[in-house]
Each structure stands twice: as C-alpha cells, then as structure tokens.
Symmetry: C2
Subunit: 435 residues, 2 copies
C-alpha cells in the first residue's frame, strides 16, 4: 500500500492535538451558549444548486463537487452559513429570531499553504430574523468573549458595512453593475496591496478616475467617528451609503453596552470575500507578532434566506477560524501540551492479581475518573515508565499485602511519594484531588 498519508490539505489529529482542539471547541461552545445560541447541525454535503448560489466565483471553483450513485449533483459544504439559510428557508415555522451555533468541518479545494487547509473547522454563531443593531453588536461581543476565554488578549475588530462600500463606490463613479466587482477587488487589499487592487479594478473595466477616488475613500484614516463623518460627507445623495453609516453608528453605540467598544475600529477598506453579505461586515484581527490575517469574521446577509425561497429574514453571524486560532494559541504557548487525559494507571504487582486490578479500575471508571489498566502483562517498573512518559499523574498499585487489608498503594508520580488507601475510599480520594 502506498498513499498512507491523508489527501493533501487534510490532517489526522492524534490525541495530543485532539485534546487541544476539544479544549478550544469546549470554550467556544460555552461562550456561544452563554449568549443564548443553541446547537444545530446539517449534512456534510448539499445539493449542488444550493451551494452554487451566492458564494462568489472564487469559492464556487473550490467546492468539492460530485455525483452520488443516483446521479444527484452534490457538493461538500464550504461554510456553515449557506446550510443554515437553506434550513430557515425550508421551514417557515421556526420561531424568529432563530439563534444557533455550529462547530463543525467544511471543505474548500484551496491551494494548501501555511494555515490553510482543504478540510477545516469553523465555529459559527448566527441570528436569523433580526435586523436590529443589537444582533450586529452581539456577534462582535461573542467573538471578543471567545478570544478572551481562549486566553487571547491582543486583537481588535475591523468594522465596515457593505452599504457604505456601495455608497462609496457609487460616489467614486463605479457603475452600479460593477459595484460587486469593486468589493471583490478591495477584499484582496491585504493580499495583493494597493497596486494589485488598482490593477484588479482596471481589469474589471472600472475607469482610472473612479479607481483613484474609490481607493482614496476606503483608505480614509482617523478615529471610527471621524471616518464615518468623512464618509458621510463624501456620499451625500446615495441613500444606501447613508443608511450604512447610520447602522454602523448605532452598532458602535450599542457595542459600549456590550463592553467591546474599545476593540472596534471602523475600516472602510474591509469588504469580506463572500458575495452574500449585505450590511455590516467585521473581522477580528490578531495583533501579536505572527501575521495570520483574521481569526474570525462575519457580517449581515439579509437576503440569503429569501434567495432560497424563504420569507425575508435579515441575519447576521460570526465565524471563528479554528485552525488559525489554534495556530496562535500554539504560538503563544497557551496550551499546556497534554499527551493524554488519563489520570490514573492501575497495575497489579503480579499476573495473578490482574483480575483484582481490573476490579479496582472499574470502581474508578464508574465514578468517571479517567483510568487506564495494563493490556500487555507488563512489569510494574515498565508501568511506572509509561506513566512518566505519558504524564499520567497517579499509579494505583494492587499488591497482595495491601489487598489483605482491603487497601491499595497510590503513587503520586509527580511528587514521587506513595500512600496506602482503602479501596472503598479510592473514588473520594481522587475526586478530592481532581475537582
């Protein structure tokens, strides 16, 4: 057999990695639930005609597309938002606002590079059926609390609005039918720089003068309030732009009550890659040394549910990029590297006592204490070695002399001390230590 590796851009997660990832998932889940979001899942694949809509040309090319044996055209989901919109459209009876979270995998056939994978995990929280600014501010508050709960402090939030961008594009002289093209070009600013974007806009048939103006507009600097003030002046007359500015102002105001105002910087050059965004868009930017782009992003997609045939359902969500977050947590040394969750190794002093050792281990296991037994008739010395290497903190030694007194010896592998404990007191003994 060759090809024992995983397909390119996908990975195996051994326990040492999985333990980390489960910790991250658990913390994010706790924040999502604290904000009143409930769990929700959808299939890994969808009908192609669902996926192909409103993702933008770049992502459409990246979807894993295939036919099942019945000839149906399917694709692996490339995000968790489109399936949500489909569910909402298909079931008009769902109470609104509908708040759900989903921490799960998605697939995109991207060029694999550092921190980019073809199979990766997203953690999304979305609220559907609310056009209130509370929801926009809440999405950013969730992102903030997730970062802090994970131990990340160095970050800020870039905030913009597709409506403002549209207003600025129109004010700069971009024709209406090319507004989306201008979003797509501006979205690449971080990747390809100003000259790159200039070229991209020109390629899309936008005139030099409009390009010049648009770039000036989106690169306005100042405080959030100053930027909004200047933008408002620039687009006198374009209703959509003014609407966007008022929305962002209200979101900023509410963000103070959410306790996240200081994190937010309005940045008119933020566009986001997906075509389905319609209003506010935001990204959480890591400020540490390592350059990783955004750790999370989100925005409003007020038209998506309607596009699938549902009733009008304004919606906003945040999506956390698990892979980058884990990369940063590793980088910052926020993870104590843990080889196993096992806390106790039960071992007999001789082979005749192995059934007794099993009985002792069962007492602990039924109390939920993570307990290992030997499966290979190894000597006690070898068990100590394994416990040391695997960083298992306790070994319970089942020996004949202690057994006569209904006792076992508990060895603390860290402190290198041991004591005799009554077998019936073992669960309490360990519960006192581990909780």
């Amino acid at each position: 057999m060759s090809k024992l590796q995983t397909p390119r851009g996908t990975r195996d997660f051994l326990p040492i990695d999985s333990i980390k990832r489960e910790t991250v998932f658990g913390k994010i889940r706790k924040v999502f639930e604290a904000y009143g979001y409930d769990p929700f899942e959808t299939p890994a694949f969808e009908f192609w005609e669902i996926l192909g809509v409103k993702c933008g040309e770049e992502i459409r090319e990246q979807i894993y597309r295939f036919k099942d044996k019945g000839g149906r055209e399917l694709g692996l989901r490339y995000d968790l938002t489109v399936p949500l919109a489909r569910v909402i459209a298909s079931d008009p009876t769902l109470p609104k606002p509908f708040k759900r979270y989903c921490i799960s995998r998605v697939w995109r056939y991207e060029r694999p590079q550092a921190g980019r994978f073809r199979e990766f995990w997203q953690a999304d929280a979305d609220i559907v059926g609310s056009n209130h600014a509370e929801s926009d501010a809440e999405a950013m508050a969730i992102g903030t609390d997730c970062m802090i709960s994970l131990g990340l402090e160095k970050f800020h939030i870039r905030l913009n609005s597709r409506k403002i961008l549209e207003g600025l594009s129109r004010a700069a002289g971009v024709p209406k039918e090319k507004v989306f093209d201008s979003f797509r070009a501006i979205d690449k600013l971080d990747k390809i720089g100003i000259e790159g974007v200039r070229g991209e806009l020109a390629n899309r048939g936008i005139k030099e003068e409009a390009i010049q103006k648009l770039l000036e507009f989106v690169l306005i600097e100042g405080s959030s309030e100053e930027i909004l003030e200047k933008a408002e002046q620039l687009m006198a007359g374009t209703d959509v732009g003014i609407e966007g500015i008022h929305e962002i102002k209200e979101i900023l105001e509410l963000s103070r009550a959410f306790g996240i105002k200081d994190r937010i910087k309005v940045d008119l050059s933020l566009a986001r890659g997906l075509d389905y965004y319609t209003g506010s868009v935001f990204e959480i930017i890591y400020e540490g040394e390592k350059q990783v782009g955004s750790l999370a992003g989100g925005g409003r997609y007020d038209d998506l549910v309607e596009l699938y045939g549902g009733s009008r359902s304004p919606a906003i969500g945040i999506s956390l990029g698990i892979e980058r977050i884990i990369e940063i947590l590793n980088e910052e040394g926020k993870f104590p590297s843990k080889k196993t969750n096992v806390k106790v190794f039960v071992a007999p002093t001789s082979d005749e006592l192995r059934t007794k050792a099993i009985e002792v281990s069962q007492i602990l296991r039924r109390e939920g204490i993570q307990t290992e037994i030997d499966h290979a008739e190894r000597k006690l010395k070898k068990i100590f070695e394994i416990a040391s290497t695997q960083e298992i903190p306790f070994v319970v030694i089942v020996g004949p002399r202690e057994l006569e007194k209904e006792k076992v010896t508990v060895r603390n592998m860290v402190q290198q001390v041991q004591e005799e404990v009554n077998i019936k007191d073992l669960p309490e003994f360990f519960e006192n230590i581990f909780t």
Copy 2:
C-alpha cells in the same frame, strides 16, 4: 429554488434534536475517557485505495466515491476503524497499546429506511497493539457502561469469534476458500432467516450437506459454557476453532472482573458484516419492545494494520450506533424534550432601558450563564410568552424603579413568582440555582 430538503438519507438537526445528541455524545465521551481512551480525528475523505480494502463487497458498493480537482480518487469514510488502521500503519512511532476514541460522522449510500441513514454518526473506542483478552472484555465493558450511563438497562451482549466460526465452517465441510462466504451469509440470519441463509450459502456454491451441518452448529443452544463445550467437541482437529474457543473462555472469565459477565451470551450465529474481523465479535442487543437490531458492535481486527503496510498490530474496538441509540432513547422517553439551553431572558420594561438590559445580560454571560436578550424591541408581555413557549425558566426584568436601587426583578417562570435582586448579586443568585 427547489430541492430545499437535504439529500436523501441525510438530516438537519434543529436545536431540539441537537441538544439531545450533544447530551448523548457527552455521556459516551465521558465513559470512553473513564476507560483511558483519548480523542482522535481523521479526515472525512480518504484515498479510494485505502477505503476499498477489506470492507467487503456490499459496503464497497456503498462508498461515496469521487475525484477531486486534481484527479485524485477519493471516498467518504464508511467507518472510523479503517482510518485508524491507516494512521497506525503510517506512524510506527506511536506508543502501543494505542487507545483512542472518535465520535464522528460516516457515510454509506444505503437504501434509506427506518433508522438507516446515508450520513450517520458512530462513537468508536479502539485499542491497537494488544492481543490480550483484557482488551476484548474492556470493549464490551465500555459498551455496557455507555448503555447504563444513557439510562438503557434492557440489553444483552452476543459474543462469538470469527475463529470459532471458521472452525465450525471447516468442520461442517465448507471448503477453505468459501469460509468468508459462509460468514457473509450467516451475518444475514436476522435479516433473511434460516431459509434465506440456506439459499445464500447454496448460491455461493456450498454443498447441501455442509450447509445443513453448519446451520446446526451455529444454532446450538444452551448456556455460554455449554455452547462452547459442544462447539469444542464438534471441531476436534481444527486448530483455529479451538484457539477461538480458548480466547472466548478467557474473555468470559475476565468479563466477571469487569462486572459484565451476566450480560454476555455466547451466540455462534453472530458473524458481523465487515470483512476485517479476525477474532472475537460482539453486538449489544436491545431487549425492549422495539426491534432495532444491535445498538453497538465490535470485534477484533488483528490483520488490518498489517494490511496497510504497518507492523503486526492486533486490535479490537467497539462502535456505538448513535442513530439507533437515540431512536431507543426517544422511544423509552429517556429525553426530557428541551427546546433550548437558555436559562435566563433579560428584558427591559421600555426601549430606553435596552442598553441597561444589555449590560445586565453581559454580567450573566461572562459568568457562563446561558442568557438571551431581546433583538426585536418586543413588549415585556411578549417576552413572557416567548419564555413560556421556549421553556426558559427565568426572566430578568430591567425596570426604572428597581434600577434606582441597583436592582432588577427576577421572575421564576415555572413557579410564577418574582423577587428583586441586586444586580451585582445576580451571578451568585443564578449559580446557586443552576449548580
């Protein structure tokens, strides 16, 4: 848009279902970890040549197979065992025995029917690198503890060995090259009955006399010990059969120390569907009214890692069928139907107080208390209605009179009583209730 449903055999899980499923996953995870298994994940898809090996013809036909844009032949994994074997084969440095669990989804293009899906979840715990009977007994103990932890009491475990089956097949006169065919036919006994199996065996070219004998052999009745005794007599001379009987006897003996002996019934007609099994095989059978087949199954697959080019690594695992377990839990009414995890709804008495209500909710959320706020400027009366319908146990009312005293009113929706609580005491107030 048409086709708003999910592809056939796949499902969306709304919060009411997801909350149940997360509860089930959590309980199983706790048992797996108590037995010293660590988390582990692999990609959703594998190279086709990995998946196609040793699954058996029936399952091979059910694999979702496709090419990626680079022309690589891939398939969605149909179980969690094959990817594990690949990982073990690819990384000889992994310490053995290697114990991992995985609770995740798999895909098979089956004919959808009650309780059968094309996308479904398995919960697997496996130990690789041990040929000791402890491991076989432990796999069954894990299954037992999972059932009990989920509240299921009515079940027993069918136990057999592929080695005994091989011995019996050979003793009955089945030619060596048709032994696997006999396993596949016997595996269908529950589905197609004795006459069906008889036909199947005949179709596979096994002689009438051998069929008659084999069916007599596998249908021997009695206590586990009696059955093993009779089987041992029948196959005097076939080494593999005798070996199987000794292994099962040792497993039975150890199962007493694990506290599960009374659950186990040796049943020589148990074959299991997958081709990779080599030794003990078992299934957990639900004994309630509803006929659902097995809730879990497992067995030894001592050759699989070697087959992928790894060193010899005897292995055994258990796989729990999440969908059937949930079906039974629903049937037995073991789930209190829970519409949401939200515990507190914070609502202002008037629109001017909405930022104050957000501030109060943030205090609770940052303590991890599942808290909802209004996103639609609804009246207090409406909020009470929502809390009742959604079964949210508490509403915190933010009103001007109480605010002057730095207080809010907490309404217990179940008992229909309310009291004033200092805002700064809110986290403690709810923590005392919820923990």
